[in-house]
């Protein structure tokens, strides 16, 4: 069995385990809908307000002295959720092994065609999702992230699969590693930000209706907090995306002799950058906070997906490396 076959096998196994993770995440969301949310009040109130509202301010201070408590109170322990996270970690390890083995089989960073790019990108997105949990509890996005990656892995293995072939001269550059890797990192943060923005829209609609709507939303942070989290993640994505744009221009200058030529892929990278620049400005514009900026975040992530799928497959341009 060649490394290439082992890699494919690892990716298939990862998909199977992600499927289990997706089911468990969905079960968790369903449980949230059924159970009465106990922590809702504590969830909604930021720590500072708690401290200010607390009768004994010094005790809040002592708490702070003792622990660096996360801003959101921990969710009620859920077996389905823990199971889902376990499956996700296991799936991710296999998935990453699949990417690394493909890299060894090829002898270069394995993201120079659609298949390689898709398996790498989904691995990094899941990886970022797992890492972000150390910062904030965003496990409620699990079904979205794992489901999304599962769909892409399915498309990649069924429709985009190509055998390992030598690296064409145009891609023989360290910039391939840097430019594409950072682009995927940016995409991961945009994916999380986009997901949070969708939840934010649902949440603010529920809040506007005085709490009626999908019941599991009651167990999630309030719309304002979701917006703040989305904003902070998208900021990181935006910095990565800016770097992608600049690194791409530097590479384009090396490979094609011009740093910018309005190639279709360049155009879409620019469009995405502009949309997210708009998103960041919307945060600072009166009347644009809340749902409007959430829509911008979702449109921005939609453009990222469009850039990866439709532009790669159907648009003519210099970034014609889909390998299909």
């Amino acid at each position: 069995m060649t490394l290439e076959t082992v890699s494919l096998l690892a990716v298939y196994s990862a998909m199977a385990i992600y499927t289990l993770a997706f089911i468990a995440f969905t079960v968790d969301l369903a449980r949230r809908s059924a159970a009465q949310p106990v922590e809702e009040v504590a969830e909604a109130a930021p720590v500072g307000m708690l401290a200010a509202a607390s009768g004994n301010r010094a005790s809040a201070l002592v708490d702070r002295l003792a622990t660096d408590a996360p801003a959101a109170a921990p969710l009620k322990r859920s077996r389905a959720l823990r199971l889902a996270m376990g499956f996700t970690v296991l799936g991710w390890v296999l998935h990453t092994a699949g990417v690394v083995l493909r890299g060894f089989a090829a002898g270069y960073a394995p993201w120079s065609n659609m298949y390689g790019f898709a398996i790498t990108a989904t691995a990094i997105i899941v990886g970022v999702f797992l890492l972000v949990q150390f910062w904030q509890d965003l496990r409620f996005l699990g079904a979205y992230i794992v489901g999304f990656c599962l769909v892409f892995l399915g498309l990649a293995t069924v429709n985009f699969y190509v055998a390992v072939t030598p690296q064409p001269p145009a891609l023989q550059s360290a910039w391939l590693v840097i430019h594409v890797f950072v682009a995927i990192l940016g995409t991961s943060f945009f994916a999380l930000g986009g997901g949070l923005s969708v939840v934010q829209l649902l949440q603010s609609r529920r809040e506007a209706r005085g709490g009626e709507g999908m019941a599991f939303l009651a167990t999630l942070p309030n719309a304002e907090r979701l917006e703040n989290l989305a904003y902070r993640l998208i900021l990181i994505g935006f910095v990565f995306w800016t770097f992608t744009l600049i690194a791409g221009a530097v590479w384009a200058e090396r490979a094609w002799g011009r740093y910018w030529g309005w190639d279709t892929k360049e155009v879409w990278t620019f469009i995405i950058w502009t949309i997210f620049a708009g998103y960041i400005h919307a945060r600072a514009t009166r009347g644009w906070r809340g749902s409007r900026s959430a829509w911008l975040a979702i449109i921005g992530f939609g453009a990222v997906m469009f850039n990866f799928t439709v532009v790669n497959l159907f648009f003519k341009g210099l970034h014609a490396y889909s390998g299909l």
């Binding site: 201070l61 390992v164 064409p168 800016t242 002799g257």
Partner: protein, 550 residues
């Protein structure tokens, strides 16, 4: 928060809609439009409009990047083409409407940068503002009461804040002067994160910098293309380019004299991987360069490794085969010999080329040739190439006689031959005097065949490689790169350094204890403000050795 912000910035005071606006004069209207243009809402609108306006340029081919695509589009959609062309969609990014959007955006941007820079300059020189009377309405408010000295507690707080990079100012209350007196209040006002605004301004100024660099710098540069066959040279003078695109302010004296000879071109193809036989793995153009007063130097130009010479960069963009063909008259005198670049038609380098022989034979001769580096017969009997390297090269030539039109003074492409006015004498349905079909001529290396009608002979002497080079000079790129780095640096500091004010206030109580109060104010996004204030309070309380009852 600050008067330099647009009025609809989230931190500006809301405008009371009930206030009756006075009648505007001419200057008043100018001010009104300027305020509109520099408002957040307009900037946001223009940004999103710019994103939207970029889309058409990705849907239809652009003259700048894909001129042949535009010609093809005209043929494919003859009805739609004139409409889109009228709307300048084929040169979207230099069109009037696209330019208007980004120019307005940049004017709006400059209108924002200037007042903010002035304001920031003043802020950098001023001291942190007075401590507000009521801290308990501010973010992260914390208060602690204990046994300590109010004035020295504030000194400790000030030292602590200074260590964390705050700029500090002490504000003793006006009505009390001596410590220990009941009601006496001391405070320190601190501010940090001035780099946030600096980064913000650097980011936006660098964007303007990029635009200006591209607009001005690009006009002084040029780019040119040249096809060089192995053994031939290219000299960097205007006449030696195959095509040349000068910038607006280009002057030919910027062309530094240098010479590049292509010694050898090597292409390496995959031979082992069954899934990728014939796929190219490396291109190398081995050249010798000569600069005035300098020795000859050897260099290897590769796809991702351009050659820097004489203020230009030389890029390897394409390659192919250039068969060397020799034509002799019936007496055996050489009337024409040349290595002609043939344009590759597929990945296995089936190549198409044209030979024009106007003089030396009894008739003008035009030849259309297909070159197959590794000839393979298709089921139909036609030839194709089965591998891109020279394993079994065959040159197949259709021969025409007639007026090539070279004397009409009209420029003709060397890669095209209009066969309509010509008579085929071999291939393309040609027939001889007896009515029998004359097939196209086929030649292997070293072979000589007779031309029909006793015109002479033709020989495939050799097959060489050619490389096509792009020669670029762009004085703006150093500037663009510098501004791009500033953009990243500005982005980091402008987005991730929190700008905040923090106050610590100590008030002497009548019972001899001191109440310490801590509060902060965010200036811009600052998600960690509350935590930061509590941390400051905790560190301060710990340093004072106060006992806090929980």
């Amino acid at each position: 928060m600050s008067s330099s912000r647009p009025s609809d910035h989230i931190d500006s005071a809301p405008v009371d809609p009930t206030i009756a606006q006075p009648q505007l004069g001419f200057v008043g209207y100018l001010r009104f439009f300027w305020r509109q243009l520099t408002s957040m809402r307009t900037a946001l609108f223009l940004l999103l409009l710019l994103a939207f306006a970029s889309i058409p340029g990705s849907l239809v081919p652009q003259r700048s990047s894909d001129p042949n695509g535009v010609i093809q589009y005209k043929l494919d959609y003859p009805d739609l083409y004139p409409i889109l062309d009228g709307l300048q969609v084929f040169s979207t990014y230099t069109s009037i409407w696209f330019s208007s959007i980004y120019l307005l955006l940049f004017i709006s941007l400059i209108g924002c940068i200037i007042p903010r820079s002035v304001h920031h300059y003043r802020a950098l020189r001023s001291r942190p503002p007075k401590t507000p009377a009521r801290l308990n309405r501010l973010a992260g408010y914390t208060s602690v009461t204990g046994q300590t000295d109010a004035a020295s507690a504030i000194d400790v707080a000030r030292a602590q804040l200074k260590r964390s990079g705050y700029r500090t100012e002490l504000y003793p209350s006006a009505h009390s002067t001596s410590s220990g007196q009941a009601g006496a209040s001391y405070s320190v006002s601190a501010e940090r994160g001035y780099l946030r605004e600096t980064g913000n301004l650097v980011f936006h100024t660098a964007l303007v910098g990029i635009l200006v660099s591209v607009a001005i710098g690009g006009s002084f540069g040029y780019s040119g293309q040249r096809v060089v066959v192995e053994g031939q040279k290219f000299v960097n003078v205007l006449g030696d380019y195959d095509s040349f695109n000068p910038g607006r302010f280009f002057a030919s004296d910027v062309l530094e004299p240098f010479r590049i000879s292509l010694d050898k071109f090597e292409a390496t193809y995959e031979l082992e991987n069954q899934k990728a036989i014939g796929q190219v793995t490396d291109y190398s153009a081995y050249v010798t360069t000569t600069t005035p007063g300098g020795d000859d130097q050897k260099a290897n130009i590769k796809v991702n490794e351009p050659l820097a010479i004489g203020g230009t960069d030389v890029f390897l963009l394409g390659n192919g085969y250039a068969p060397t063909v020799t034509v002799r008259d019936p007496e055996g005198t050489v009337v024409w010999t040349d290595s002609t670049p043939f344009l590759p038609q597929d990945t296995f380098l089936t190549s198409l080329g044209v030979l024009k022989i106007p003089d030396g034979l009894s008739e003008q001769l035009g030849l259309v040739g297909f070159f197959y580096p590794t000839a393979a017969k298709l089921d139909s009997g036609a030839l194709s190439s089965g591998f891109p390297d020279l394993l079994d090269p065959v040159l197949s030539l259709r021969v025409y006689t007639g007026d090539l039109g070279l004397d009409a003074g009209v420029p003709r492409s060397v890669y095209q031959l209009n066969t309509d006015p010509l008579t085929p004498i071999a291939g393309d349905g040609a027939v001889d005097a007896s009515g029998a079909e004359v097939p196209a001529l086929q030649l292997k290396i070293g072979e000589t065949v007779e031309l029909p009608n006793g015109l002479g002979t033709i020989e495939l002497t050799d097959v060489k490689r050619f490389a096509s080079f792009d020669i670029h000079r762009d004085p703006s790129q150093v500037w663009v790169l510098s501004f791009a780095i500033l953009i990243l640096a500005g982005l980091f500091t402008g987005l991730f350094i929190p700008r905040r004010r923090v106050w610590v206030k100590a008030t002497q109580k009548a019972d001899g204890t001191v109440t310490l109060e801590y509060a902060g104010l965010a200036r811009g996004e600052d998600p960690r403000l509350e935590a930061a204030v509590t941390d400051i309070a905790a560190a301060h309380v710990k340093q004072l050795g106060l006992k806090v009852e929980s």
